[in-house]
């Protein structure tokens, strides 16, 4: 629990932050709350020579709605997200996820940008961001670029970001009428990482049908896993309990989840089906 020596910077502007990354390259790590980085440094699992802390950048800490888009600053905390009336009403799945990240101490300091860029295979946000069709904005020496969530996560603990890029904003389209979403997580204790987490974003169509379904899992692969076969089943007829169960069964096919001390692969497959069904039901019950 004792980190190696490192140099610490807390730049006052984004330009300065990008400059520090350019200067130190792979030796530098960004800190955006530090709830994953610091424990890893204390266990000497990572030992960056330079830590660039983003806490002084107020332009990255906001939540607002611009026209048809909810914009969230990368430094918005989990607490800010799950207590935001805007997020709760327009993007309930995101509020669900923010509410179950770690414990209250983590939620007070940890941020959505930090968690997304850390890209743990069993983190809560990645599945939700993919399900909600989010885009991540990143700034680097060559300016800003926009990255769809589905392309952002490339492997566990790995994203498509360059070492000199910083996630600044997360943009999520405001869902249309009839849209509803939920995120449901299975973990050993309330405060743990997901064994399986399921984000379900549904849109109600005519006659009790689900016109659109996006169902994405966390904890079962290196990146968020979208279960398209299950989505097709959900959209194929009136969405009743039987159809939800069928979608759950379909979600289990072709999964290749990891085993760890909390749960083996077979367990993750089994509960994926259950949690897909339950997450869909939870979303569908929301009006």
């Amino acid at each position: 629990m004792i980190p190696r020596a490192f140099e610490y910077f807390d730049p006052a502007t984004l330009e300065e932050a990008v400059g520090l990354l350019e200067q130190h390259g792979e030796d530098a790590k960004l800190m955006a709350g530090g709830q994953s980085l610091l424990p890893m440094m204390k266990l000497r699992m990572v030992s960056p020579a330079v830590v660039v802390d983003l806490w002084r950048l107020p332009e990255l800490d906001y939540i607002r709605r611009d026209d048809g888009v909810v914009r969230v600053g990368a430094m918005a905390t989990h607490y800010a997200l799950h207590s935001s009336p805007l997020i709760r009403t327009t993007l309930p799945a995101l509020a669900d996820a923010a509410r179950v990240v770690g414990d209250p101490l983590v939620r007070n300091l940890g941020t959505i940008g930090g968690s997304a860029a850390h890209a743990a295979y069993n983190a809560d946000y990645p599945a939700v961001l993919v399900a909600l069709n989010a885009e991540l904005l990143a700034v680097g020496p060559d300016g800003k670029r926009s990255i769809p969530a589905v392309d952002f996560f490339t492997d566990t603990f790995t994203t498509c970001l360059e070492p000199t890029e910083i996630v600044t904003d997360i943009l999520i389209p405001v869902p249309g009428s009839g849209a509803r979403s939920a995120y449901l997580k299975l973990s050993r204790r309330g405060t743990d990482f997901a064994i399986v987490g399921v984000a379900a974003a549904l849109t109600e169509g005519e006659g009790g049908h689900c016109a659109d379904a996006r169902v994405v899992l966390t904890g079962v692969g290196d990146v968020p896993v979208r279960v398209t076969e299950a989505e097709e089943i959900l959209q194929a007829g009136p969405l009743d309990a039987e159809r939800m169960a069928e979608a759950g069964e379909a979600a289990k096919r072709n999964l290749d989840p990891p085993s760890d001390v909390q749960a083996d692969a077979q367990y993750r497959v089994d509960v994926s089906g259950v949690y897909v069904r339950r997450a869909v039901a939870a979303a569908w019950q929301r009006s």
Partner: protein
């Protein structure tokens, strides 16, 4: 108003809740160095060389010590022999590895540096050459005669063998209609005090004294052992246990790390601080619990239990901890539970493997004994188509005192009445009906019943056969010292580690002397100021230490009354102390404040007759009578009610009822805290906590992210009913009680989960009951 029996608020809490406690890590001594251990990354390897040259070239590296250097300076770590141990061969267990390493995390070298960060960097620079060897992780393999030996000086890998017989087992088999047989397995887990181990060792060249500030439950015993191991005069060693953030029996250990730290302090002539990281703590502090039992229970068809026989295998790890025989016997000797059996037979093998050494943890093994008998009763009840409660009622001990075949004499209490009370609390009949109704809906509710007699005030060891000093736990000595203002310090050689001594000892002292509790303060933990004591362990504080507090308080009172009698011109035997006033019994107005008496006893000594000594101080001991391994016998009944989600294997508590009888309660609130805390720990041990090693002997659970201790959100609310049957053999009628919750919860929760999913064809005989494991069992049952 007497203080005993009052749920007064804990007197130590202001300190704890305002963050003004002082733990080892809060202490900084002038010139202090910081230590870090180099630990083995291998489960089993030959140690070819340890080179500290590069490490000491680090600008902040001050000094280091290796196993080779330590070997001639410090003798082997102690192992206590139990008087009836058939075999006990001691592995050569040293403070730092010297020939082989035998578990991941074993200390290999110790470095001292100018600050804590540098210490870690310096430790990383120590070069160690290993030749990896095949690890032995499974005791069933390791016990085989052809298995490679882990210790050259042992005949095989059995580090300890104990055989115990009681009653007439042959008759039990002869009379049996059938013999119930099972194999049970309990997984490895341990107490994880929030404050890890830590120590500052300091050697004073001028006085040649060694002073330790150490997070321990046993300051006096640690002092004695260090004297023996280091061949250092005992009266030149002082151990101070400051505030201790949890012990759970783990801190009964004489840590090899502390021995090494003393060597480094003597070598550097500077204070050296070592604070264990959580990762070190999970790897190398003591582990516990892992056992298997091959059990036979001869039964009559009418439900009578005739006897119990078990072959118990303990996974002892790489070395024998001092207390290895305790939790081994703790399981074996608790097999008959609170039931009448004719015969008892247990053979215990503690087997060496390449895991962390196995030691004491709250309950001291007895939860395994409780699990074996309580789980078996449920399974037998099913075989006989009987209600499990009904089968218990048939076999439970009906009258106390009761002489058990193990040699224990259970002192007092009404076990049947306790069981009836617990059944009433949950409305057992209605609950079974509800269970049947829910099953029809496809919901799986389970009711677990477990009852046990907890031994409190253990005294497992005897010095008779020991090569080392062996602590004996059945007596306590307490000093009371009144100051010149009439206030009293109660000096006790124990250490509070969440155990409320500052409150309960003050309550007993207040009543014994007749003083307001505000004028009494309890002092513990410093060997220089407290009487010798075996420490905070074995649930002995109430049964052994509190009677000594009372004795000492009455002796002090006598001295105060003697001076008071002189001043009031009355007879000594007519004196009483009420609310801080010394007075002549039955003569109102003829009184003096105790403070006045104290002033005279200290500063107006010349005015006292020659035969009245100066000062007001008393020291008294209490020697507790033993019955078998223990002193008192509290008991309890736990009935958890759970619902198992058969799709995910998760367990939710619906209720949790506890009936608890620990004799006279000095402070019911404190008792309830211990019961609930212990039960929470037991629930965690059953459902969440497991030390997982892979086949190469790497520990996979090296942080609290992987080793899951229960949190408030995982706990039910507990309903506790207090019965108070006085211990007849203990003045005051107290029984010890700190361990029980942790003992009964294990069997009760396992039974509840098993009861829930039993209709699905699942039989549970091993733990932990993780969701993953529960689904696996359900899958197996479906075929």
């Amino acid at each position: 108003m007497p203080m005993i029996g009052q749920s007064i608020k804990r007197r130590e809490d202001l300190k704890y809740v305002t963050g003004s406690g002082t733990y080892v890590d809060d202490i900084t001594l002038p010139g202090m160095l910081y230590a870090a251990f180099v630990r083995s990354p291998h489960a089993h390897a030959r140690l070819l060389g340890v080179d500290t040259t590069k490490a000491l070239e680090h600008p902040k590296g001050i000094d280091a010590i290796t196993g080779a250097e330590a070997y001639p300076l410090a003798g082997p770590m102690p192992v206590y022999s139990y008087r009836e141990a058939a075999v006990i061969k001691k592995p050569d267990y040293r403070c730092l590895a010297h020939d082989r390493v035998r578990f991941v995390g074993e200390p290999v070298a110790l470095v001292a540096a100018a600050d804590r960060y540098a210490a870690e960097d310096v430790a990383e620079l120590v070069e160690v050459e290993y030749e990896p060897l095949e690890p032995l992780m499974n005791p069933d393999e390791s016990i085989k005669p052809d298995s490679p030996k882990l210790h050259d000086n042992l005949d095989n890998n059995v580090g300890l063998r104990i055989e115990r017989r009681g009653g007439d087992m042959e008759a039990a088999y002869r009379e049996a209609d059938f013999v119930f047989k099972r194999r049970y397995r309990m997984h490895r887990h341990t107490g994880t005090p929030i404050e890890t181990r830590g120590c500052i060792a300091q050697y004073n060249t001028g006085t040649q004294e060694l002073t330790l500030h150490c997070s321990t439950q046993i300051p006096h015993i640690l002092k004695t052992h260090l004297s023996e191991i280091l061949d250092f005069p005992e009266f030149k060693i002082r151990v101070i246990a400051p505030d201790v953030g949890g012990g759970f029996g783990n801190k009964l250990q004489v840590p090899p790390e502390v021995v090494a730290l003393c060597l480094l302090a003597i070598k550097t002539r500077r204070p050296v601080k070592w604070i264990e990281t959580r990762r070190e703590s999970l790897m190398a502090f003591l582990h516990a619990r892992e056992q298997t039992h091959d059990v036979e229970i001869p039964m009559k068809r009418d439900g009578t239990i005739l006897g119990i026989k078990s072959h118990e295998i303990v996974n002892a790890g790489g070395y024998l901890d001092a207390r290895i025989s305790g939790p081994s016997l703790g399981a074996g000797m608790w097999l008959p539970g609170p039931y009448m059996v004719k015969g008892f037979h247990v053979d215990i093998d503690a087997v060496m493997t390449n895991k962390c050494p196995y030691g004491a943890y709250r309950g001291f093994g007895s939860q395994m004994g409780a699990l074996v008998i309580e789980r078996s009763l449920d399974l037998i009840a099913r075989e006989l188509s009987r209600d499990p409660v009904d089968l218990r009622k048939q076999n439970v001990i009906k009258e106390t005192p009761y002489k058990c075949v193990t040699g224990h004499e259970f002192d007092s209490g009404d076990y049947m009445a306790g069981l009836d009370k617990a059944l009433e609390m949950v409305d057992y009949g209605a609950l079974r009906a509800e269970q049947a109704r829910l099953r029809e809906e496809g919901r799986y509710m389970g009711i677990g019943v477990a009852m046990a007699v907890e031994g409190a005030g253990w005294n497992t060891y005897t010095a008779a056969m020991a090569q080392h000093y062996v602590p004996t736990l059945d007596y306590a000595t307490v000093t009371m010292r009144m100051d010149t203002s009439g206030n009293v310090k109660v000096l006790i050689g124990d250490v509070a580690c969440g155990t409320s001594h500052a409150t309960t000892a003050a309550q007993v002292a207040a009543d014994a002397i007749g003083l307001p509790i505000d004028t009494i303060e309890v002092v513990e933990g410093d060997t220089a100021v407290t009487p010798y004591d075996s420490g905070t362990r074995a649930a002995r504080f109430s049964a052994v230490v509190l009677p000594a507090v009372a004795e000492s308080g009455m002796a002090l009172k006598k001295k105060v009354c003697r001076v008071g009698a002189h001043l009031l011109e009355g007879a000594e035997e007519d004196m009483e102390i009420v609310e801080g006033q010394v007075q002549v019994r039955g003569v109102p107005g003829k009184s003096l404040p105790v403070s006045r008496v104290a002033r005279v006893a200290y500063s107006e000594v010349a005015t006292l007759p020659h035969e009245i000594p100066a000062g007001l101080e008393a020291t008294e001991s209490f020697k507790a009578p033993m019955s078998g391994l223990c002193i008192t016998w509290p008991y309890s009944i736990h009935i958890p009610v759970v619902e198992v989600d058969i799709e995910t294997g998760t367990v939710k508590f619906l209720r949790y009822a506890i009936v608890h009888d620990c004799g006279v309660e000095v402070n019911p609130m404190v008792v309830e805290g211990q019961v609930v805390g212990g039960t929470a720990q037991g629930v965690g041990g059953t459902l969440l906590e497991e030390m997982v090693y892979d086949e190469d002997g790497q520990l996979l659970t090296t942080s609290f992210m992987d080793y899951l201790i229960p949190t408030a959100t995982d706990m039910p609310s507990f309903d506790v009913c207090h019965l108070q049957t006085a211990a007849p053999q203990i003045p005051g009628g107290y029984k010890g009680m700190g361990e029980g919750g942790c003992v009964y919860a294990y069997a009760a929760v396992v039974n509840a989960v098993a009861d829930a999913i039993e209709p699905l064809g699942v039989e549970i005989t091993s733990t932990p009951l993780s969701p993953s494991r529960i689904l696996e069992l359900l899958r197996e049952a479906r075929g």
